[in-house]
Symmetry: C2
């Protein structure tokens, strides 16, 4: 039986230039989170490397790996040994011409519970993801794990209410957004505040609209022109912030979800049940008239 | 040519028990807003009456009126005379067995630019709308007015990202949510705060997700077991609060939208263009597997 109270650990890290070092650090922190009682642990987007999509360089494709591969092998063992669910983002190489910004959910028995390939890819200055990744081809699929039904989305997906909705409709209780978002060095304090606020608000709104918990795991630290703002958080089904990390330091953010709250909130706010799907056809078109 | 800067006026009122008195007050306030320079003026949901869906009483159907009818006749004249767009919610009687929670958009020349019938109806304790209203059958349609393309949604629609999205995809620059939302007298201060915050956040998120301005117009005052919390506001396309009314008094909230901002924000955040519609099919089902 799936238990109701679940402790999660969000690993907010600074990236080093060495992928091996980042992996070692990630392993240590995942173990530390498990020791603190975390049952579901999420790493941040592309944590094994610096955020390389800041520039377009063919040499960065060398960081890609297979699923299954080295990273999944290591975390499958840790997950089984410590009986924890681990979400590990991976720069995935499918073949020589197909790469994805992916994340793997490893269940507490060491099996792979699901793979997600990022669907919405940014292509802004300093976020040239379309140079590296193909849009995800696996759709949005809820993952059943020992500690609950979870949905994985990655970073830019957070701006699209459709993605969160699709996972909640399938029964997701908790959404994870491994992320790499930061300010450009040219931005004013005011612009920075506005952007981070919008980023937090839209995710809290997904929690509210869908009656789910939502965890966002972002990196920290300065890399080139980008200052990643951390601020990893867990929001409850009312959109309330349950825990939030700072914007400068590495942190293991620990927080507890009580999935029985979902039922309570949806009793007051039965939004999923009350969707009027016959009026939503226009959503399937890019620009309905 | 549609101008870029548009001044709006949101009429936050306390309802009296007399529909005639409420209408007179609404007329005065609309004129006052126009005098202050408002070009688009919105009244709150069901402003002509107390929020009667707080209880289920057959006698309340007497408050319903036709579209066109007395209310539209009056505001069409005012709109034409003062050259303002007016959004007037109406408890609509279609025939003896069909009633809607509707709103009419009257253009600055006095013509009817659009009618919206509320699609998402609450049926919570003290919000028994399904007793009175049929779900809207006109869908979500953007209204072209002299001062911009606007979308009308009503109160409970604000919890559904689909509704805001459908209007933005049709080109809406500014969404209006005439509203009647309040706390139950039994709720604690903490619950009240949580609920109002969620209400504001989800609407700000619609502005962010869609790159549009969003105005919410709520009533104030105690009626029976409900304390309507006012807090009418205008949010910008970054989700930022541009202006916000208090929670106790009647107010004419004046604020300015600059529609050229929409283009600027969408350049940074091209979310509408980047929707991956092929992955969204599940949205058309109530509970996709």
């Amino acid at each position: 039986m799936v238990q109701r109270k679940v402790k999660i650990g969000l690993i907010q890290m600074k990236a080093e230039s060495s992928p091996e070092l980042n992996l070692i650090k990630a392993i240590q922190k995942v173990k530390e989170a498990a020791k603190k009682g975390a049952q579901i642990i999420s790493l941040q987007e592309l944590y094994r490397t610096l955020y390389f999509p800041q520039t377009k360089k063919a040499q960065n494709f060398r960081f890609a790996e297979r699923i299954p591969g080295q990273t999944t092998k290591i975390f499958k063992e840790i997950a089984r040994e410590l009986k924890v669910v681990i979400i590990t983002p991976i720069f995935e190489r499918v073949n020589f011409k197909r790469f994805h910004n992916a994340a793997v959910v490893i269940d507490a028995d060491g099996s792979i519970a699901g793979i997600y390939r990022k669907v919405h890819l940014p292509n802004d200055p300093c976020f040239y993801e379309k140079f590296y990744f193909k849009a995800g081809d696996l759709g949005f699929k809820v993952c059943k794990t020992r500690y609950g039904k979870i949905g994985i989305l990655i970073c830019w997906d957070q701006w699209f209410p459709e993605a969160a909705r699709l996972l909640a409709l399938q029964g997701a209780q908790l959404l994870f957004y491994p992320t790499a978002i930061g300010w450009h060095s040219k931005q004013s304090i005011n612009e920075r505040k506005k952007e981070q606020t919008a980023w937090e608000i839209i995710q809290r709104a997904h929690a509210i609209a869908n009656g789910v918990y939502l965890a966002s795991v972002n990196r920290v630290g300065r890399e080139g022109k980008l200052h990643f703002w951390g601020g990893s958080f867990l929001a409850g089904a009312f959109g309330e912030i349950i825990a939030r990390a700072g914007d400068r330091k590495e942190e293991i953010l620990m927080a507890t979800c009580d999935f029985s709250e979902i039922k309570a909130v949806r009793k007051v706010w039965p939004f999923l049940r009350e969707r009027r799907i016959k009026t939503y056809q226009g959503l399937m078109r890019r620009y309905p008239s």
